[in-house]
Amino acid sequence: MSRRAVIEARGVSKRFVSHSSRATQLKERFVKGLTTRDRGPSEEFWALRDVDVVVGEGETVGLIGPNGAGKSTLLKVLAGILRPTSGEVEVQGRIASLLELGAGFNGELTGRENVYLNAALLGLPRREVDGLLESIVDFSEQAPRIDDPVKHYSSGEYVKLAFSIAVHVDPDVLLVDEVLAVGDEAFARKCLAKIEQFQQDGRTILFVTHSLDLVTQLCTRGVVVDHGRVQYDGDPAFAVGTLRKILGTDRPVGEPSGPAEKGGVVVHAAHVSASAGGPARGRFAAGEPFHLRVECEVLPSREVYPGEVGAVVMGAGDIPVWSMRTSKGHGLPAEPGRYLVDFAVDAVPPLNGAFVVGVQVDHAETGLPLTARRFDDAVWVETGDLPGLLAVPATTTVTRA
């Protein structure tokens, strides 16, 4: 059964015309209108180009991309605040949006008054807000300050109240733009719990974020936007990998792009397959054989002796799931040349999710890492339908107590 589409954006493009080239005063309009028909070359900028996004009911979508990629613009177009230059957007149900800082509060009004005003803007009648006020204030932790004008709130307090309103007005669609980062950790946890509850309620959530771990943790889907286009739309782990490639952060900080050369050793590539020399594979079932082949090169310029080679398979948030190492004394030889290091696993453990591989070559004498490289082409393992990193068989019985 296919899900009902809640957000449908088709062929959406958005062009911004720079303010300087836009007649903003009547005078200019007249002067320009009289002197010349041609308004001169206007500086335009396409924030979005031909974007298609269809989000079904109950999906949680993470919208990620570099700064200036068009994420916030897309969110505003979906929220019905900006009109697309071309294309169509349709959203079903009540939309609550938290766009950047602000959320449409009036600084002169008290927190309480802003709650009423904001809820009214979102389409809630006053008597409904009366019933919600207590839980909104409780959740926002602003009870002592609720009758102060919000201009005296800190940015964190501001966001807490705004988030609290947005999640209490019973929205069908929640659009959030990178605001969760502002609150303290305790509040961020509360927000995440609330979002998880929303997921269980089958509500639709779309959020822009730069915390990529959040995407792999929370989202059912990741959409990568860059230069105004959708570069990838699908599995969150792959989305994160795609973005890291775009950003060039798929390597540890400080390493040059391309294969890393450090201490005279280069890790060129890592191939994942089912058998030595077999075709590349991205998807595995539990119990299948798994083979990792790492291509290394010892350069003639090496100054120290390379030692053991290690590989680690990491899950969401770079949690190491299992590690493999060449046995002691059997690492890379000292002679310059290209080497293949093979790691063979008889049976993939019963895991669930997407995994990435990190490779490291150690110093032969000190045992400290000489060079390391991360490969973000995710490996998928699927075991059963139940959530959880590890599929653990359990026998369950139900008896009358």
Binding site: T24, K27, Q92, G93, E108, A120, P125
Partner: protein, 294 residues
């Protein structure tokens, strides 16, 4: 209930909610007006009294000038003056408030999706709330001055205020939309209102205009605000030709009957109705770019 029916139900609820979020609701309008009132009078000791003080001071100044400096020659001039002044001030303030309403609420427009047309409406509403507070003061002053307005002519207030509302909404909405793209609009409106003020029989008796224009008197009432002002005066000032200081009757109001006013009101409603249609078109065309232009 079967699962498909439930899904259809949810879809229907969702579309109802989407339209509730896009529709102009009374509840929202009321909250925006009360927000403006709170923001405007917050921290002032006299608070709402200021909304009465302003027109009363204006009234006092005009009264002194046009009674002692230039004699307007109108008996109970203060009642005549106040009736016209309150009606026109509600109009000019309403259009003025509305013209800056979208720009002034940029924070909302750029962050929240809501029916934007409530913004100029709230600006107009603010002026109408003030008028509603000022009118009783006018009536009390009229009574104290010995004018009994209890009569059928008092009912003329209803269509007069109705026309005032429609006209103010129409022009206010147009001004609010234009002001987003052309920020000079609100300044232009301000000056235009100063000029427009004099095309209404507020300070001078309308009888004077009648003498001057003769057969062309009807042209004067092509201006809907002149009709509104003249009708409010007829409703509250009542007597068209009161006895002046010298014992002779003075032609103060335009007409002693009803038909004259009803006819002009009908014309005014026609003009205001057309402006309202225009306002709807203009606002719809411009509102899609508000968030971008602000």
């Amino acid at each position: 209930m079967s699962a498909p029916a439930l899904a259809a139900d949810r879809a229907a609820l969702a579309s109802a909610r989407a339209s509730a979020q896009g529709r102009i609701r009374w509840d929202l309008l009321r909250q925006l007006v009360s927000k403006d009132l709170k923001v405007k009078y917050q921290g002032s000791a006299l608070g709402f009294v200021w909304s009465l003080a302003n027109p009363l001071f204006m009234l006092g100044i005009y009264y002194v000038i046009f009674t002692y400096v230039f004699d307007a020659g109108v008996p109970d001039y203060h009642v005549y003056l106040m009736a016209g002044l309150l009606a026109f001030t509600a109009f000019s303030q309403g259009v003025g408030n509305a013209s800056t309403s979208v720009v002034g609420n940029a924070g909302l427009v750029k962050k929240v999706r809501f029916p934007l047309a409530v913004l100029p409406l709230a600006g107009v509403g603010f002026a109408m709330v003030q008028l509603a507070l000022q009118l009783p003061v006018l009536l009390v002053i009229a009574l104290l001055s010995g004018i009994s307005f209890f009569g059928p002519q008092f009912l003329l207030l209803v269509p007069a205020l109705g026309l005032l509302l429609v006209l103010t909404i129409a022009l206010g909405t147009i001004a609010s939309a234009l002001n987003v793209r052309y920020r000079d609009t609100s300044h232009f409106v301000e000056i235009f209102m100063l000029v427009w003020f004099w095309t209404n029989p507020i300070l001078y008796p309308v009888g004077l205009v009648k003498d001057q224009l003769g057969d062309l008197f009807w042209v004067y009432f092509l201006n809907p605000t002149a009709t509104i002002v003249a009708t409010v005066q007829r409703a509250v000032y009542v007597e068209a030709t009161p006895i002046g200081d010298d014992g002779r009757p003075v032609q103060v109001l335009a007409d002693p009957g009803y038909l004259f006013y009803l006819r002009n009101l009908a014309l005014g409603f026609l003009v205001a109705g057309l402006l309202l249609l225009l306002a709807r078109r203009v606002f719809r065309r411009y509102q899609v770019d508000f968030a971008e232009d602000l």
